[in-house]
Each structure stands twice: as structure tokens, then as C-alpha cells.
Point group: C2
Chain length 249, copies 2
Amino acid sequence: MNNKSNKVNAAITIIGNEILSGRTQDTNLTYISKWLNKLGVRVEEVRVIPDDEKIIIRNVNELRKKFNYVFTTGGIGPTHDDITTESVAKAFNLEYVYHKEAYSLLEKYYSPEKFNEGRKKMAKLPSKSKLIYNPSSGAPGFIVENVFCLPGVPSILRSMLGGLKNEIAGGKTILSKTVNLKTVESEIARSLTEVQKKNKDVEIGSYPFFRSGKIGVSIVLRSENQKKIDKCNLEILRFVSEKNISLID
Amino acid sequence: MNNKSNKVNAAITIIGNEILSGRTQDTNLTYISKWLNKLGVRVEEVRVIPDDEKIIIRNVNELRKKFNYVFTTGGIGPTHDDITTESVAKAFNLEYVYHKEAYSLLEKYYSPEKFNEGRKKMAKLPSKSKLIYNPSSGAPGFIVENVFCLPGVPSILRSMLGGLKNEIAGGKTILSKTVNLKTVESEIARSLTEVQKKNKDVEIGSYPFFRSGKIGVSIVLRSENQKKIDKCNLEILRFVSEKNISLID
């Protein structure tokens, strides 16, 4: 990809019937995205897909070609519905075999009588995988090329990201500034369009909110360049003042 | 599609840079999915994509061919970054024009001096759209063929779903039963695999949890057939009892 040096992007694939059915509220998207953002990587697509081998293979193969990094969450545990690892092996045409280091880690983690079939399954990985260490519960995640496979349980996933920083070659950090206004979107839509036209390098988002009885709009400015954000911010404050709109902290 | 009569499926497309960046935690997925589930529609894929015309068009066109229903959230407001409506018009090769009824609704909702350019924009829809009425804030959503376009603000979206039931021709309702066990997945993985093999029509999900100091596993059984769920449940309770595993309420 020719954008590796400057703009670095990622996709997240959330694998799990429990997310699709609405039973479980995903919180990994926001966590991974913010974490990547600090490293200068922008999440540009997220897919939630079922625990279905063909679908996992198709999605991983589509996304790993389109994005610099792909993160998957879920489906790397010991039960029958944990099929992410084997599916990723198939996506890369790699063997799904015991990984020496993973096996040894898990063997040390559990006492011999507890190192059963289910736990041994978690040592089977696509051949050539690099491990993602798990300080919470032993069983590692893994990396194959640009695909990073993590568990679905948020607390475990979060504990594993810390060790991954050096694996990510990010671009420039995306900076942002939020301005909260006591108004409704329709009152500022036209002025905001004008500001966006004059500041094409700044992504301007407008998000209405209705919380604890307060109505307002958050304007979010995003760019890699702080000066461009500041200029854009000033132009917004100018029309906000002209329209007598109050700022909200 | 040949599965319209029995199994009815849907995809959700969440449109918004604020979700991708992690700034905003999506909650519409779980709400829409549970609502559809009651109507006998199973959500089989979710995508989160940016406010980008080409990407919206490509995704809407891919998903509307693959699924019985597609729901989009976000991007139908008055500001420059609300481009879902025009993009959906382009996806269907339809004109993006004032919708007579939507215009009239909004004209009545706002006083004449407040019915400004931004608000008028919300009356522009793909030609041939059917309206989705909005009891919260006036501006309607819309339906084109099997694509349902809703706003991103959760409270408004929820208020609009109520009026949509008659637009959805669902299949059989997907029933579910959850059994919570005081154990870890590795202890039950093998027995659960056996039960799954003998009960292929029941989708068995296994989800570890770590909450308020408690460790456990939720087993979720899903099927359209209550008897099959009951049979499967009984087989699980049998091995649970043999292994001396406690149930958790």
C-alpha cells in the first residue's frame, strides 16, 4: 500500500453471534480505536460478523488487503464456537498447529491435571504466528502478517494491547478539538458548511446531543495539523459569537 | 431471495466518523437487533463506515442484495457531514429531491421563520421514498425498497422504530435460553462440543464472564424451536450435574 508512510489505517472485525444478536454490548471498538488513534492509526471500517468459518475467512481476506492493520476480537477461546483461530489459518493458507511457545506458556500456566483438551486447543495457532502475550489469563492472542487476533472479553483484551505498541508502525497522530454549543444543528448548518469549504484538511463533524435535559451540538475538528485545527476553531468561534450562541463546557 | 419465507435476515450499517474514532459508543446495534429479533429477523452483519459518499454507496449496494433488510443509522440531519440520504439516492440511481409529504410535515413542525435551509434539507429524500415518521423531532427517516434509513441519535431512533413493525415481514421468532454456570470454559468445552454435535439445529454459544468478582460462563441456546432448545438444555444440565458445577441465577 502506498499510504503506509503517512496515513495509516485499520479495520476491526468483531466476531461473535452474541454481539450480532444484541445480547452483548460491544465496547472493544471504542477502546481499540482510541488506542490506535494515539499511535497514529485511523480505524476506517468495522464489521461485526457471526462465528461462521466461511464468513470469517472472506472478511479477513477482504480487509487485510484493504487496510494497513486488521484487528479481530472474539472466538479464540476453548469452546466449539471459538473458530476464529482456525479460520484465520485457512484465510492465510497456513497450517493450524500447536505453537511451541504458546503450548509451553499454557503448560506452565496450568497444573498438569488442568491442562486439558480445551486448554490445549488455545495453543493451536496458524503456523508462523507471532504471539500476543496475555497478562490476565494465560492464553495468548496472535499476529499473522498485518492481522492481530485478540479475545472478546474486554478486560483481557485491554490488558493485552499494552504489549503491542511496538508492533504498530503508525502515521501522524490524529489531533482533535471539540466545541460544545448550546444550539441545534439547523441553526449552524450553513455557517459550518462555509467553514468546512474553507478548511478542507480538517474533518468537521457535527453531533447533536440530548443529555440530562440539555440540548446542544458538539463540533469535532480532526486533523493531523494543530494549526489547521486552531484556524478552523477560530472561524467557528467567530460565527458562534455573531449568532449569539453560548458555549458549553 | 429464496429464504424470504422462512429465515429472514438483516444487516445494519452504522454511518459515522464519530463511532469509528471511538468518540461515541454505539448503542443502536443492540437495540435494533433485539427489536428485529422479536419480529423474527436475524441480524447477520453489521458494518461501521465513515461519512464518505463512495463508501456509503458501495456498502448499501452490497448489503441490500445480500440481506432481506438493511438498516442504516446516522447522517440524515441538516449539516454538511450528513450525507447518507443523498448517498442512498445515488446507490439506487434515484433523484435526491424534495419529498412532498416530508416537506409539508417539516413546514408544519417549524414556524415559518425557523424553516431554514438546514431544516429544508431534511425534506430532500430519494424519489419514491416512503417516510418513517418521527414522533420526537419532526424530521422523518425513509425507506427505499428494503433499505431503512434512521437517524443516529439513539432516543430519536428508538421512538421511530415503533411505527415500523408493519413494514417488516419477519420469519419465525428466534427463541433463546441462557444457562449461567459457575465454571470456566475449558472445564465444559468437551461436553459442550458433544451436545452441539447432537443438536445441530440449536446454536450454542459459550460466553465467559468476569463481573463483580464472579467468574462464570453463560451458555446461550438459540433456535426457532422451543422443544429443541429444551432438549438441548436438558443435556447440558445433565453434564453440569455430573461435573458438580453450580448454576448461577
